[in-house]
């Protein structure tokens, strides 16, 4: 198992996140997709830290990112709750007031 396999897994995870973000319309699923992309990147941090850099800096960053992601999810979920209260739906295609 070389670095290529790990990078490939990271790409697959990220792509699933992107595609999920693009094709689903439930806001909660979108949030999950975003988290998936975030974690794909985290995973790559660990991979590059292990195979390329050789130190533990990358792995430490992962913890920082996880913390931030937790805070972000809290904010995101709060927004989603408010969104639901306001629009009575979680379908993003029906939340389109902000436009030019």
């Amino acid at each position: 198992m070389g670095i290529d396999h790990f990078i490939g897994l990271g790409i697959i995870l990220f792509s699933i996140g992107v595609i999920g973000f693009l094709i689903r319309s439930n806001v909660i699923v979108l949030l999950l997709s975003v988290e998936l992309m975030l974690n794909a990147v985290n995973f790559l941090f660990v991979v590059f830290s292990r195979f390329v850099h050789g130190g533990s800096t990358g792995q430490i960053y992962v913890f920082i990112i996880m913390t931030v992601a937790a805070a972000e999810v809290a904010v995101g979920l709060a927004i989603i709750v408010n969104l639901y209260r306001r629009f009575r739906t979680l379908d993003v295609s029906r939340v389109n007031l902000l436009k030019g």
């Binding site: 973000f21 693009l22 007031l97």
Partner: protein
Amino acid sequence: MSHYQVYLIIFLPIMGALINGLMGYSFSKRSITAIALGSVGIPLLLSLGIAYDMLFLSAERKVMTDTLYRWLSEQTYHIDIGVLLDPLALVMVLVVLVIGFVIHCYSVRYMKGDPGFRRFFVYLNLFVFFMLILVAADNLVLLFVGWEGVGLCSYLLIGFWYDKKAAADAGRKAFIVNRIGDCGFILGIMLTILTFHTVNFSELKTILMNDHAVSTTTLSLISFLLFMGAMGKSAQFPLHVWLPDAMEGPTPVSALIHAATMVNAGVYFMCRIFPVLEQAVHVLPFIAAIGLVTAIYAALSALGQRDIKKVLAYSTISQIGFMFMAIGSGIYAASVFHLVTHGFFKGLLFLGAGAVMHALEGELDIHRMGGLAARLPMVTATFFLGILALAGIFPLSGFFSKDAILWGAFERYGVFYWGMGLSAALITVLYCGKLFGVAFLGDTRFNGRIRKPDSLMTIPLVVLACFALLLGGLGLPMFSEHTIFAQFVEPSFFMPGAETGVPSAHSRVLEMIMTACVLVGIIVTFGIALRYFTRYKDTMMDRAVTHTTVSHLLLTGFGMDKLYHVMWVRPFQRIAHLCDTLIDRLLIDGGVNGTAKLAAEIGYFFASLQAGYVRYYAVSIVFGIFVFVGVTFVVMP
């Protein structure tokens, strides 16, 4: 006489105008009146003193010149601010100040209740100032300053009641028509400067008296251009249309500006440049022809008017036509004499008309007056004297001056011209008879209520009536070149080169016979007209006025206004409309709005990218990543 007196005469009226105009907002009516009357009354006394002095001076010393300062100087010529006070100018100064003072007094009563009381007297004083500048100027350019100044005051006073559309329009019309004439005036001044290198009247006269190399064509052109200015200001035939409309102004203004002084400025101006006219052989007959056409045309128009002030306005045009006939015939003294007498009796008639309007609460239509003689005896008596003077009946002033003009015209241009002039005079008599017969005699056709004029209104009438009655005395002895008036103004018209033909006893007899015939004709016509129009009934009058084309033609002044409307006003409106739609709206507005619209369209295009759908944003982010990665790894290396 000292120069200070002259400057005092000229500058006191402007002092009055400035004091009342700049500081008068807190003054009482009484002090405004005192300042306005004082600033005309004191110059009047001073000018009377100068006139008395001048009577006893020798001919050469009667011409007084003084230069206040040099206005501008070029290499070849210079223009001064200076005065030239000779008998001709003095006569004009006296006319302006005497009539001006009388009308100031009259206005105090006439304008009493008007909210623009102070403004009125400011304008009136300003007018007197500019008129004095005009008559006392010693060069063409300074004369032009006064000329435009009186034009301005005329505009301001015609449009005095500016919230009335007709008055504002009439003011504009007067201003615009005068511009046409003034255009010629300015070109004339330029040509004078180019030709003679001077604009000073005395210097011009000296040049022209001696041998000079100026061609007759140039002189004719100068005279013609300057005469154009005179035509505008003095309302001669093609440019007369503003004067009947000018009657929208207050009646004292009509009397002072549009009858007695300003409109005569053209006549005075022609007399000032008589040395040029004398040698411009082609222009004198032209002036005579214009004068004749105007005299007949305006007299006919006056015959058809219903508005008392418009009758008098057309009559003024007609009488100034007579003055220009005199100038065209080369008898300047007679022309000025008619100017003086006309100024007084026409001023009187206008003030009388004002008194009638005052009595009838603003009624202007003569067909709705009638029978005023019994109710307003004083006004009627003075008005009748004015009418007699205007008609030219023997002992009154108009007879002497008009007779001199007719005879001069006969001597110069022969019997046909004389006959036409006589017919103009007879039409004058007809409308005089009609005016007096319809408005003052016959049945009462108004509602019977009348406001009696008080003494402040009637005294000016009496004063002017005395002048109208007695001024003819200056035309004595009759049948002579050397009347009192002619002798007084002689130094102004003195040309050593000109031959003074001594008329034979034969022509004297002819003149007497012709005068007698004219007088008989006038009196008979007047009698018939008076009798006919007094008995004219209201219904007949209405039918005659509304249903016949001739009456309509006369009422509208032969449709000159309509002609000008078609000839000038409508094409200008078309051009303005074209500029509006094509240039302004299409080109300029289109350009400006187009630029704005272009920016907006670009903005709308990019704004549409922000659709509000999260998915679109996600797609564009992903797309952007692909582009970025593609460019970085595929295109760039």
